[in-house]
């Protein structure tokens, strides 16, 4: 999970702060990065400010008199760079939802009566097809387990806000019976899955995801086992 998160961390910090000039009648400076924090200073039109950092929708800025404060994204979007262009704030948007390459998320749900928690990461080769790595933790009444699986997902309409998809893949399942039960050995088997679901764009880089998977576990006994899984969760794309 940490590894998944670390791979999406922003890289590269700037050395010199970005300088912009105020184009609105004035720029309001709050004491903190939130609408509830009071406005203590205003910077008049035409004055230059340096942008120190950004947290969520708020930019920390310093004016030429050394006063610092937090300005909202909507006001910052109207400021001008030394080149005379509007400050380009490249936030992820609905348009980028269909074209994103990397996606990381967590899902929770039910697999044949057991609770299942899944973390996944995917990489898209094109807007339709992506490779996906899933790690699941199963927490049942009589046994626990883990599933690691690699598969492909296919999105039918990447231009839609709610995107239906199908998936197929294979992996390994490790089942560990509960310690309080009669000791039965742990089992590790190969499995394959097919699934279908939807990804819905929420806002910025956030996605709601719901899916159904059907697993076939290739046991070394006479019969293979089948399992149904439902889960819901959230993901973000990069």
């Amino acid at each position: 999970m940490l590894a998944l998160l670390l791979c999406v961390l922003p890289t590269g910090l700037n050395a010199a702060p970005v300088t912009v000039s105020v184009a609105d009648p004035y720029l309001e400076l709050h004491t903190g990065p939130g609408r509830g924090y009071p406005i203590t200073h205003v910077v008049a039109r035409g004055e230059e400010v340096s942008v120190l950092k950004r947290r969520t929708d708020w930019f920390k800025i310093r004016d030429d008199r050394g006063r610092e404060g937090w300005a909202h994204r909507d006001q910052m979007a109207t400021t001008l760079t030394p080149a005379g262009t509007a400050l380009a704030i490249n936030d992820p948007s609905r348009e980028q939802f269909g074209e994103h390459q990397r996606e990381v998320g967590v899902l929770a749900g039910d697999l044949e009566g057991a609770n299942v928690l899944t973390a996944y990461g995917s990489y898209a080769f094109n807007p339709h097809l992506a490779a996906e790595l899933r790690l699941s933790h199963l927490l049942g009444n009589s046994s626990d387990g883990t599933i690691a699986a690699l598969g492909l997902t296919h999105v039918f309409r990447p231009d839609w806000r709610v995107q239906p998809f199908v998936s197929i893949g294979t992996g390994m399942i490790h089942i560990q019976p509960k310690a309080t039960l009669v000791q039965t050995p742990d089992r590790t088997d190969q499995l394959a899955y097919v699934g279908a679901g939807i990804k819905a764009y929420l806002s910025r880089r956030f996605i709601f995801r719901a899916e159904y998977n059907k697993y076939v576990v290739f046991t070394d006994r006479d019969d293979n086992e089948e399992a149904n899984e439902w889960k819901l969760g959230f993901a973000f794309f990069f």
């Binding site: 999970m1 940490l2 998160l5 961390l9 922003p10 590269g12 910090l13 700037n14 970005v18 912009v20 004491t31 903190g32 990065p33 939130g34 609408r35 509830g36 924090y37 942008v51 120190l52 950092k53 950004r54 947290r55 969520t56 929708d57 708020w58 930019f59 920390k60 760079t81 080149a83 005379g84 262009t85 400050l87 380009a88 704030i89 490249n90 967590v106 929770a108 609770n115 928690l117 973390a119 933790h137 927490l139 009444n141 626990d144 509960k178 310690a179 309080t180 910025r204 956030f206 959230f234």
Partner: protein
Amino acid sequence: METRIRIFLLSGLLALSGCATTRGAEPASGSATTGSGVDSSSVITPQVERREVRVADIDTENWEAGAYIGSLSVEDFEVNVVYGARLAYHISEDFFAEALYGMSDAGISSYERLSGSAPLLTDSEREFRYYSLGFGWNVLPGEVFLGGTRAYNSAVYLTAGAGSTRFAGDDRFTVTLGAGARVLVKDWLAAHLDIRDHILEVDVVGKSKQTHNFEATVSLTAFF
């Protein structure tokens, strides 16, 4: 309704006629330029200076990572020291996603102490390890005032998450509910005080029962 349809039809007609006129005009203008022998592009050479629009390289600080220490009451198994790590991503000024990993060692139950019987759990089974993935909501953003000249930004938040706890030899599905307060000592450094309840089913005494394991921790986190 009828007027709308009429406007629609009329605009359609206009669009069609527009297409027809431009089509008709094209060959005529083409023949005119070849006829006069003057290339229209050389008459006015556009002097467009292309500006390169670059996304400003502003340092974003939406991630928060840190460590915590405190005490955890493992139901029936005493109160013990807990320590852990926390990673959060601030989605907006109101919401954040967080991941927790904590470790503690459960003590001896009253039953074991009073009855003097064999211990219910081995030492390794007394290890209490949990992870939780969830969301938080900054309910009360505000400021903390120290003396007359200092003010620190703060927030009181509520959290909810799901995860797993390894205790008594098994992984157990866990729901974690909590509330906390964060004070920003510096722009990038925050001190937290958190109360959490880890709700899980434990079957150590034969019958499975729901347990509430309360935890109070203090932590330091850095924004990056």
